[in-house]
């Protein structure tokens, strides 16, 4: 137990941060990250060492978040915008961003803006983006974890990136104007 406490001490921020980035709610992130540690303890014997401990724990918390998001999804109605996104309607109206909207930004400010933009995406789009860009998962792996087709992953990722580029460009315009 002492060794496990040490592992928690080292990696608790990383596990909590992943839960927070997916759920965007402190209480839910805290609850799910703690649940992940409980599951980590219970399944410690299953940890083979194929990946690092923190990667293994991150997978556990991601799965818990995905389960929670599925529960939430069942409880809320699909919006028209969401359906448009799935069909590839909205991003066609977004202009292509040709000038880098992050140029000249300090790292802290850049991260804050990215986080702000991520918060405006739907759960589905944000999750795909997080799993691809931050967790470095391939389309196939994301589809498996999100229980959807590879085509849906590609569509969601495409929308999410284009939306992010446009939001970042709008923040830049606000700053200039």
């Amino acid at each position: 137990m002492v060794a496990f406490e040490e592992l928690l001490r080292r990696h608790r921020d990383k596990i909590y941060a992943r839960a927070f980035s997916m759920m965007r709610n402190e209480d839910i992130a805290s609850d799910l990250s703690q649940e992940a540690w409980v599951k980590g303890w219970q399944r410690l014997k299953q940890f083979q060492g194929d990946s690092s401990f923190v990667t293994w724990m991150t997978r556990i918390v991601i799965n818990l978040c995905l389960d929670q998001l599925r529960k939430q999804k069942r409880q809320r109605a699909e919006s028209i915008e969401h359906l448009d996104e799935e069909l590839g309607g909205v991003e066609r109206q977004m202009p292509v961003v040709t000038v880098n909207p992050t140029e000249g930004l300090e790292r802290g400010e850049l991260r804050a803006r990215i986080d702000r933009a991520l918060g405006l995406l739907s759960h589905e789009h944000r999750t795909v983006l997080i799993l691809h860009e931050f967790e470095d998962l391939e389309y196939k792996e994301i589809a498996k974890r999100m229980e959807c087709s590879i085509g849906t992953v590609m569509s969601r990722l495409f929308y999410a990136r284009r939306k992010m580029a446009n939001l970042m460009a709008s923040y830049k315009r606000e700053e200039m104007g």
């Binding site: 921020d13 909590y16 941060a17 540690w37 991260r111 990215i114 931050f134």
Partner: protein
């Protein structure tokens, strides 16, 4: 540029295409300015998002956070110790037992109704009802009287040895 071509460009940017497909899509991007612009945007977004995740820290102190996790672990372990895992055959048996009792009653009701109705009631051979109990948990005792034109079935739980606890079914139904 159609929708499939846009998604192919993205798959190319992400290195998800085979070598042959990558060459084909690369040639397509070279030949179309709008495709090149889209590729530039996708690469730019990928480049500024991936290394810049916002850093978030657990809002609680280390001690408090650990104490909460520890309490959950202990709680989960105590639950596991007090409730031994139920095996599938046991769970199946618990589900099936009440159902088999209901099925038996329904079976007897149908058979008895057909046996005792109308003129056939005079025919003694119709009283030879086969009673089969498939339940391991519920026992049955049947009593038949041709002279009184009556057929009664008692159901009881096998683990209740005291016969006095066995309650007769509504025998008026079978008369």
């Amino acid at each position: 540029m159609n929708w499939e071509q846009q998604l192919e460009l993205q798959a190319w940017v992400d290195g998800e295409l085979s070598a042959g497909d990558a060459r084909r899509v690369s040639a397509f991007a070279d030949a179309h300015a709008d495709a090149r612009a889209l590729v530039t945007e996708l690469r730019m977004a990928k480049a500024f998002i991936a290394p810049n995740e916002f850093e978030v820290k657990v809002p609680d102190t280390r001690e408090f956070y650990w104490s909460q996790v520890q309490r959950r672990i202990e709680s989960a372990e105590s639950v596991r110790e007090t409730s031994p895992a139920l095996s599938w055959p046991f769970v199946w048996r618990r589900l099936v037992s009440p159902l088999s009792g209901v099925a038996l009653v329904a079976f007897l009701a149908v058979v008895s109704f057909n046996t005792f109705r109308g003129p056939a009631i005079e025919d003694g051979s119709r009283h030879m009802v086969e009673v089969e109990n498939l339940s391991d948990d519920v026992g049955s005792i049947s009593y038949r009287s041709q002279s009184e034109n009556m057929f009664v079935v008692y159901l009881y739980k096998k683990d209740q040895d005291n016969e006095a606890q066995a309650e007769p079914m509504d025998d008026s139904f079978f008369q």
